[in-house]
Symmetry: C2
Subunit: 371 residues, 2 copies
């Protein structure tokens, strides 16, 4: 176990429903509150466990919606009250991470923060820790640093980071500058990226001094910056927090941190990257969930659910069972069956991306009771 | 509406779980107690409604298991008490139909009985009635008469009846002798049968004088005959029935009526057939259920269940919904989804015959609670 890094604070933005994992993931039970790997605990708890050795239990903050406060506190009994930052409504990642940066920077001016999504899966903890330690070393030099995952296949499901020259920093032997970010590619382009080892997956991990991050926001979106400052100034005063949140939070710009911080910083040569050599997945859809749970065997049937009663004959894919029902599969391949109390999904892995369309259709057709 | 046929009694053997329709059809809710056509009523009730004009409500008997007595009486409020014949345990069709023949023959020596399964689907009522009227005319002449369905496709799912020469009987212009019965053929043979118009589907409908049927049983299986006589002699005496049933019923030969009556009679030139020109299906499996409910359109998704909430995108096959759950299908073809409170089946129409294997596996693996 490493010693916690002294000036480091981990931030876990726990938002996002994960529509492509409906009906498993939904408004009142988002992805981060599920065990998607059979580990026996939620992705949020896995994330906490991964960060605790790096930051210490007192120095992990979670940014989440008010509706999830109880669930988060139940999952993370060690989290100090003051480190649960509640959003009154979702306003995307720049507002969420910016809020954490603003509050923590006020509490501790030179703090380095690292933000790590609550619903990603990582395997290879020592490699992860080494990447974070390097990123913190780079952040101490005043850079914003991301961790880009070294691809293990030509994925079309992730955005990419193109790294350029080495960035010489003590304690960060793999640090490099970022040339630019690239949107999700088509398969042919993805194959080129995969062959060219300079392209890394964008896993949305950002490590920087809080004041450096806020400075970038100030430059790109002064309105968002001003709002975050107002929030942070009142935050730790129980009397004043509520009214300021009610007034300011709904006015904050809804934008991803990639656009307001990472890409502009890359353009100015202020963004660094550490290649991550660990297994990583954002578990974006059921195809990815199958891959995570099939132990690499293509004809396996993965089964998720502690009480699953599954009887399968010549079938592959995944069954997610949240009921006590007996689930029988016969001769269905790459199938996705998600059985919950009020909704059932049957599709195949190749249709995994279309699940969001069903969620949209339910919104339009009076099916909101199951969303 | 025809006048009921004076000397005719309809018998409905209502047994058989229909394992290949699990988990829809099961021990406590067998096939005949389901609405499988979207008609709004059970197959048993459809059968009753079909026979009532031919026999009259007072002259339809049902042979069923003790466990189904309440359900049968609920479905058929017009049935006289004395016409519900309860089996203490299933002993196949010769015992069931033989029991009805023995009881009814004692009550009315010259009665003609016709037996019609409780769980078949028939469309084309006037044609059906005309076939039964012809069969009764043939039965009056002392023959055992079956109704064989004129095939509409080269089916490998049914047994066949090969008809031979015409049998001249007044009121039965289509009557013919039966040359022999043929087991379910392979596809090539089925195609030959379909091209040769003399092959008819064996729908298990038998019409004959009760005493003629019993005579055939007496000749083929004297033990079964003696048992049936003992039962019939005591049946209408409330005091005596119970003990005799307890003693005799469990000893009766378990055999299909085809083997103990129809085939031997055919061999002796005592079996006649009337071709049935109506739509008929025994709804043996989910493939057949899809065909029945897809209105002939191959890419349709059939939906059964009065409260079904189905949202489908680019999917075909059938959904049977017995819950209030939202069921979503995306990009699955020829799919079979059967959603019940305690069991879920996901398969495809081409695997329909393998459903019985799951039922067998559940029996072996502690899944009897859902059978």
């Amino acid at each position: 176990m490493p010693q916690p890094i002294e000036d480091f604070y981990a931030v876990i933005p726990a938002g996002g429903v994960g529509s492509r994992l409906w009906p498993l993931s939904r408004a009142d039970a988002p992805k981060f509150l599920h065990d998607l790997t059979g580990s026996g605990q939620t992705l949020l708890r896995d994330t906490w466990d991964r960060l605790e050795p790096l930051a210490g239990a007192d120095r992990i903050a979670v940014v989440t919606g008010r509706a999830h406060r109880a669930a988060v506190e139940k999952e993370l009994p060690g989290i100090p009250d003051k480190n649960v930052f509640l959003e009154s409504e979702p306003r995307e990642s720049a507002a969420a991470i910016g809020l954490a940066a603003a509050i923590l920077s006020r509490r501790e001016p030179n703090v380095i923060i690292g933000s790590f999504a609550a619903d990603h899966v990582i395997r290879g903890l020592r490699t992860f820790e080494f990447a974070v330690q390097q990123a913190v070393a780079v952040a101490r030099e005043g850079y914003i640093c991301t961790i880009g995952i070294q691809p293990t296949e030509p994925s079309i499901g992730f955005g990419y980071i193109l790294k350029s020259d080495e960035l010489p920093v003590d304690g960060a032997p793999e640090a490099a500058f970022v040339e630019r970010f690239v949107e999700k590619p088509d398969l042919e382009t993805a194959k080129e990226y995969f062959a060219d080892r300079r392209y890394l997956w964008n896993a949305g991990m950002f490590i920087s001094r809080a004041d450096v991050l806020l400075g970038e926001i100030a430059e790109q979106d002064p309105h968002l910056y001003a709002g975050l400052m107002d929030l942070a100034e009142a935050w730790d005063d129980r009397e004043r927090r509520g009214p300021v949140v009610d007034r300011v939070w709904p006015t904050l710009t809804k934008i991803a941190i990639d656009y307001v911080v990472a890409e502009p910083a890359a353009a100015k040569g202020r963004l660094a990257v550490i290649p991550g050599h660990f297994d990583w997945d954002d578990v974006g859809d059921f195809a990815s969930l199958i891959k995570l749970n099939s132990h690499g065997r293509k004809n396996d049937l993965a089964i998720l659910g502690p009480n699953a009663r599954v009887l399968a004959d010549a079938s592959s894919g995944i069954v997610v069972s949240q009921t006590k029902r007996v689930i029988s599969l016969i001769g269905v391949h790459d199938i996705v069956v998600v059985d919950t109390d009020d909704a059932l999904l049957v599709t195949t892995s190749e249709n995994a991306q279309r699940v969001k369309g069903i969620v949209d259709a339910l919104k339009l057709n009076g099916g909101t009771d199951v969303l």
